[in-house]
Symmetry: C2
Subunit: 619 residues, 2 copies
């Protein structure tokens, strides 16, 4: 260990002790929280924030600051204590922990400028850290990314998706630290203190893995030095720690997960004990290293001036998606694409062909695909992760947390609904609209043709917040032109007359069933209105209400999705306050393999069923 | 290699060739499917079905049959071909592949009696296989479980959750085989043919890992022998294979994933080439070994004769859940519980205390928790996996596939909604009802007190199909007695009068807000009806309609859930056909940390908001 490291050890150990004290104070004041999980990590956090990391404490927005992700989000108080120690927040701010009027929540959220992604669902922070580290490459920054994991969360499969991806991408700017305190919430972890067993897993996945005593400051500093010097692979420091370290009454004991010390004697005694651990300092801590802020050109949105399709063309929206993404990427370097080994089906390969350096293949691992996108978005990229819409369900917890974070991720799901045909239900997304709409801040778009795909993709890219775009497998005719305007929250009335007896609302493939039904009914002398609900969330209530009023209150939705949570519910919810109800055509039960047309017909969402519904309602 | 193995090799190689031929025939006839992924696995499948596995081809329901899970579900045709070869289905049945009128779907589903779980979403079959193998212990059977994985799917984190769990549980009756054909859908996998790199990962996770040439029948048989002889750990056979093996025009080539050979010359040539590979047989295959069917007592449902709580008691439904599960488990050995390291919060620890041998701790890994439950359910257990409801979103793709399979899993999610308080949004389930309701065959139950928890838990256990039960963190008063009857699809009118001016529909914690609002309004001379919607799916349309008719069409829902997909939508959908609409109180946006009461109030679902809504509607 270099001499300069040794001399700062006592001061850093005192920082660690103060972090423990403040973690106890904050959780005791809050009456809930995780002091024991903070105590095991105190030396690690002290070493990171006061010796290792380069950051400008006055400027959270310096893009070249080293990044820290608290993957074990429940240890939030130790992070808040580190900020207070660094002067980022006030000395007493941590005492507002978990209060309704404080942003220092039970788990960190990016409402706080030093937090990139909300954590608290374990095994996610490290995935975001991979994306954050990949972003450093994209923006040519030397910032390093640190992720602190608990040992319990190493059981999450997403951690191993992150491990594989980071090793495959040789992200040597990434350093993970596992706080192996051997105790989960309900008992010992499966590995207890066997740090070598844990390290062996990471080594097998291609990481450099160092095992240390996580309360030995010199060992921590040395390991961080080694990590920083490592090239071509990420590093994990597997640190043996004691839960509740420093407080003899709870040190290493079960039953102290997520439990504050009681105000009064219990807490006072613990704080006194911790204070007694403060030691003389050889010398004060050296000033922190502040990264040079690299000047970069201000980002500029791209714009697709022209449309790529003309009326009568036929193109699958999934293919138009890939083409539009590639085009938009020409004009904006922030746009990146992520794939889970289906780029030739989602057509994200079109983006890869033009922008290989901004395309990330995560292989068949949807959690790291979304997780890495979260990290990329947190650092200013505009990531478009895409896969079969059905498999986005694999990452729903990540999507949920991305929504909590309000991150700028642009998800695309192809192969929606029974219209994919023969592959059968495992490949059909029939609950994706429900799962995306459930999150109140996710924008849900659903183009029906090539032109609307291009327009909506551009809107998605520059909308602030998470967006989901649903694309379809079959080719569909192009019905829009460059003159058609699209907005988030809008819709298109594609057929209308003064005599309309009902309104049929479709989107994607079912819009064409609705148009076919319109034509068939027209032959029979019955006029209907047809609306393309390309923005499923937010939904165009005013157009829907106007249609309801003008078509005798008869609204029929038709969607290639299960009944609950999709277009039917979106429309019903929008018109309910005005007393209108909706007649829903949707896939009523678990489907099976078959030809697309057979399935649309069998599950009641074909033109024939729309005709029948109109006649029933209008009779 | 023993002599008896050597002599059967030519016959088994011929089986493999026939499986290839039939896979080509079926996919060519269907015009879609995955012949190349079948060809890489042909020797493995031949060895398993015609040398290794013990099963009674005439009795799929023999509980002592060895089990096979096709985790790489897209290779379904090779499985169907093996069944045809074994006489399980007709020789030409595979030619109905992917047809609407055939159960031989694009990916296997348990509509077929030899399939335990639907596969097709990669990385899931191996999780189910862990559950199937655990079941062998529970029923004292000697059956072995085999799971065939593709190499691409090894990127899924769920595979490593399964790896960790199987090794922790020392499930030596489990043998996984990885078909390492080096090609994913869109290109080479990250490991290509580096079988040692793959084996190293499994060894680090505690498995015995054997690497072999997956087209060398003797090597396969030998590895299966070794796996069978292995004690104390599961085995994986990492088999180097060639995608499209046997068909020189596609062997090892990219661009042949999920692509059938064209009918006519292309397919004919391939079949002719395969036929030329048939070889003279030293001797016919020996008859298959059929397992002895062990006689076991017929299972009998348990029944909770008494209720554990009296009016005025106060108990959290999560705690009542654990207690009821433990009680029900006394009377029915099929009931098992699975946890993801929150047993002391969900109170599944109460079950563990009484039935430790039927309790499985999967640690912080929700995908394997649900996946193992799927496997257990497939073999006759009644598994209750539980965790925080928010974290069930981690396993949504598994839940989706469990729904496709119609499996008998009984999921419980605790800590629903903002009423958990200070931990903040990462721990709050606010989309769980939406995600569960989206699946048309998932029953969704939501008890409000101790007695209804007990009653609903018993109903859940013996209902056929997947069930979700939502429980709450705060204590709530007991309002039901032994005289109250509950049914799936039912509800309870807990307050009613002839003068009701509106109906308020709540469930769980919001039911008590509704009751408080009722009492407050009563003081002001306003009468309302209050309904406990304990069955959220299916929903009690007739009671709701009656209430709507009797209370001037004024329906107000109040739920600790986001607006989309929950109770509001469930009720709206049920009453729409009769022209009624619903006024919804739900959590409108991403919440934050705070006290439960503060949060209920701030997000508009407290008694005060209900009172205001009633007054607004009834004014």
């Amino acid at each position: 260990m270099p001499v300069q490291s040794a001399s700062r050890v006592p001061a850093l150990m005192n920082v660690a002790t103060r972090l423990r004290i403040e973690s106890v104070r904050a959780t005791t004041e809050a009456g809930s929280g995780h002091p024991s999980s903070c105590c095991s990590a105190a030396e690690i956090v002290a070493a990171l924030f006061f010796a290792e990391m380069r950051y400008d404490a006055r400027d959270p927005h310096n893009p070249d600051n080293d990044r820290f992700v608290l993957s074990k989000g429940h240890a939030a108080p130790v992070l808040y204590a580190a900020w207070a120690e660094a002067g980022i927040i006030g000395r007493n701010a941590p005492l507002t922990l978990r209060r309704f009027d404080s942003d220092l929540e039970g788990h960190p959220t990016p409402r706080l400028p030093w937090v990139d992604v909300a954590t608290g669902s374990l095994g996610q922070g490290v995935c975001a850290a991979v994306g954050i580290a990949l972003n450093a490459r994209l923006i040519n920054s030397e910032y390093r990314t640190y992720a602190l994991l608990g040992d319990g969360e190493l059981a999450e499969g997403s951690v191993w998706e992150a491990a594989e991806a980071a090793s495959f991408e040789r992200v040597d700017s990434l350093c993970a630290i596992a706080d192996v305190n051997a105790l989960g919430q309900s008992g010992p972890t499966q590995w207890k203190h066997d740090v070598e067993a844990i390290a062996a897993r990471w080594r097998a996945f291609g990481w450099r893995a160092l095992t240390i005593d996580g309360h030995n400051m010199s060992a921590i500093l040395d390991a961080l030095d080694q990590a920083r010097a490592t090239r071509g692979q990420p590093t994990i420091i597997v640190a043996r720690t004691i839960k509740g370290k420093g407080i003899s009454s709870i040190e290493g004991k079960g039953g102290w997960h997520g439990k504050p010390l009681k105000k009064g004697e219990e807490a006072d005694k613990a704080i006194a004990e911790l204070e007694s651990q403060l030691q003389p300092e050889d010398e004060p801590l050296p000033p922190r290293r502040v990264p040079k802020r690299v000047e970069r050109p201000a980002p500029k949105p791209a714009h697709l001036d022209t449309v790529s399709y003309t009326l009568g063309d036929s193109v699958a929206t999934r293919e138009a998606y890939g083409a539009a993404l590639a085009r938009l990427g020409d004009g904006d370097d922030r746009i990146v694409a992520l794939d889970a080994d289906v780029r030739n089906s989602t057509f994200s390969e079109k983006f890869e062909e033009k922008h290989p350096q901004r395309f990330f293949e995560l292989y068949i691992a949807e959690q790291i695909m979304i997780g890495a996108a979260m990290g990329l978005a947190a650092r200013g990229a505009i990531p478009f992760p895409s896969t079969f819409a059905a498999f986005l369900s694999r990452a729903y917890d990540f999507i949920r947390m991305a929504a909590i974070s309000g991150l700028n991720i642009k998800m695309a799901g192809s192969h929606a609904g029974v219209s994919i045909g023969e592959d059968g239900p495992s490949q059909m997304a029939l609950e994706d609209l429900a799962m995306m709409r459930a999150e109140p801040n996710i924008t849900v778009l659903y183009p029906c043709d090539g032109v609307s795909t291009e327009r909506l993709l551009e809107l998605a890219a520059y909308h602030s917040g998470p967006v989901y775009m649903r694309t379809s497998r079959p080719k569909t005719p192009v019905i829009y032109t460059a003159d058609d305007a699209f907005t988030i929250g809008g819709s298109k009335v594609v057929r209308r007359s003064a005599d309309d007896v009902a309104t049929v609302i479709g989107a994607g493939v079912t819009l064409f069933e609705a148009i076919t039904a319109h034509d068939e009914l027209q032959k029979q002398g019955v006029a209907i209105r047809v609306i393309d609900l390309y923005s499923v969330q937010p939904v165009d209530a005013s157009t829907l209400l106007q249609a309801a009023r003008e078509t005798k209150g008869r609204l029929i939705t038709v969607e290639d999705h299960y009944k609950a949570g999709g277009i039917g519910d979106a429309v019903a919810s929008a018109v309910a306050a005005d007393g209108f109800t909706v007649h829903r055509l949707a896939v009523p039960d678990i489907p099976r393999s078959g030809k697309p047309e057979e399935l649309l017909e069998h599950y009641g969402i074909s033109a024939r069923h729309i005709v029948a519904a109109v006649k029933q309602l209008a009779s």
